[in-house]
Point group: C2
Chain length 358, copies 2
């Protein structure tokens, strides 16, 4: 497995992960946690996975409050490679800033953007897909990896594949990106064989990305390039950048314009959005999954997920699909079915003056 020439891995490391409270906090968001019990945080796992293709060519874009933690977790990444956003401005600003920096630094760069909080258990298959995508991107396409759907999910957007791309085996034109469908519609998508999950992974030349952005949002692209040319203007220009996802700002209109290609991918992929997903990821039949020190958990007639992150003993009796997350200052007890509602607790804590716990 050789690295890809001039390939840069861009990692937007943002998002609070409120549905993973109390493990994920605004001060220590989910990408800084080892949520899979692998011994590596999600951010570290993302860097590990990309090292085979990017070597040491990384750009991490994160919030200012998290920059030190990111640097602490990534001793192999130089401090100047961790860009700090003055405030959250969604994915287009984060990834666009990285593109503008790379455009100046390496004219031959191909960048791939991968969120810091995804889990991909098949790193070799993933690397092969990135390699194909990078080849395609050098021909000035905006390339996305399309995940083989494991089930008709209503939680993800989909990529609708068109014809094979000439000269690039394994790559297909993208007809359109479609928003999160109903489960029924998702099942229809799966039946056609022409739809893939949109995991928000984009491989593209920095200049191509910024030029596409400039086509629909010229001031946005100009601001990003101005910041890259003179980093002292970051605070000044950042405030006015639109809060918009890369999907909406560039990918969707570019697909309509026939500029997007998809590399359908067979690797497993998990977006750990809540404790139900986490329980499913590391699930174990007959007893609760333990994320952390198994010896701290005593379970009788129980299943679900137990996170003994406070180092205390946790005993669970007679509860199926329960979720118990034990941290030093806050405890969550719920069920897998109600995992989505965890964000309500976070909201209530903020409203009741306990924001320090969120």
């Amino acid at each position: 497995m050789s690295p890809i020439d001039h390939f840069w891995a861009v990692i937007p490391a943002g998002g609070a992960g409120t549905r993973l409270w109390p493990l994920s906090r605004s001060s220590v968001p989910k990408f800084l946690h080892d949520l899979t019990g692998s011994g590596r945080t999600l951010l570290q796992g993302t860097v590990d996975r990309l090292s085979t293709v990017a070597e040491d060519r990384f750009l991490v874009v994160t919030g200012r409050p998290h920059r030190d933690a990111v640097l602490g977790q990534l001793p192999g990444v130089a401090p100047e490679r961790v860009l700090a956003e003055p405030s959250p401005r969604d994915s287009m600003a984060a990834i666009g800033l990285a593109a503008a920096v790379l455009e100046r630094e390496d004219p031959e760069a191909v960048m791939g953007s991968f969120a810091a909080d995804h889990v991909i258990p098949d790193p070799e298959v993933f690397a092969d897909c990135v390699r194909i995508a990078a080849d395609v991107a050098r021909d000035d396409w905006l390339v996305t990896l399309g995940i083989e759907p494991a089930f008709p999910s209503s939680a993800f957007g989909y990529v609708h594949l068109g014809d094979p791309l000439a000269g690039h085996p394994g790559a297909f034109a993208v007809r359109e990106f479609v928003e999160k469908p109903s489960v029924r519609t998702a099942a229809e998508y799966l039946a056609t064989g022409d739809y893939r999950w949109n995991a928000g992974m984009f491989i593209v030349r920095p200049t191509v990305l910024l030029d596409l952005l400039g086509r629909w949002h010229p001031a946005f692209a100009a601001s990003l390039r101005a910041i890259a040319a003179d980093p002292s203007r970051l605070d000044d220009l950042w405030t006015d950048l639109p809060r918009i996802a890369l999907d909406h700002a560039v990918a969707e209109p570019a697909a309509d314009a026939g500029r997007v290609v998809c590399v359908p991918s067979a690797f497993r992929w998990e977006d750990i959005g809540d404790f139900d997903a986490l329980a499913g990821l590391v699930g174990d039949a007959g007893r609760p999954t333990v994320l952390g020190d198994d010896d701290l958990v005593r379970a009788i007639d129980a299943s679900g997920l137990v996170v003994p992150a406070a180092g205390r003993l946790v005993a669970v009796i007679g509860l199926d699909d329960v979720v118990v997350v034990d941290t030093p200052d806050a405890l969550l007890v719920t069920t897998r079915a109600r995992a989505q509602d965890v964000k309500q607790v976070v909201q209530r804590l903020k409203e009741s003056g306990r924001a320090e716990l969120t």
Copy 2:
């Protein structure tokens, strides 16, 4: 409400309360806890309730490891009034020792024995019953208070009432004590109107109790009297005392011999044996009962019992009749229906070398 002349309150303070783990521990058993959120521990509540009839005439019998804690909780009780058992020997030895001490100290004594871990929300009604019972006891009866059954419980033994006792309005002969029945049998008992819950409360002259004991267990009674005569023999003689409950050693055979009287009582009485009972005692519809600081609990669509005894925030979502007990070094999550099985966890902890948590 005047005190009862020469009435001594004997409080056997023993029992681990393993079904109330992790709140109750072998080092700090349940009678040392404020389980009702009243601001007083069960032991303190017991003493408070009896002060109106006993003034300062108390004898507490507890395990050696708990003597200091008992004294600390009861500043009004003199150190020589707290007897320490060298080892647990069940209720006959504990109450019998108190009887032997009182027999020497106060020839006119009437003693009443009341467990340290019961809850009686109607102290005035209780005191009235004790007053009647003490009057009867002066005529050399063994008197028990019979609780009006609130429902056909299979968790308690029953007292079967006979004819009214001449000269003592409100007192009845006891035909027999019956063991914990099935719910069906308990319902039949209730239908007759002649059965009461046996709460293990006995009022008796010390000499009468020891003489009754001597009738069926002469060596036992002799040992207790020998210890009272020479306290230096305590360790030596205690080891060989039988492990037997007062009910079996004295009350049941004495009932068969026609020596027991019951004062049927209308006060509410709770034996907080497990978290289901505790949830029922302080229950609140529509949201979980909180034992402790209500502000530490955030509940959404939940009911049951939450004990935030570690000072941490506890969030519960989407669980009915759940039991969450949060302590600094151990956490329990179960349901009211499985509250009995908490003792299994305690057993497993001992077996797995974590006895320090039990």
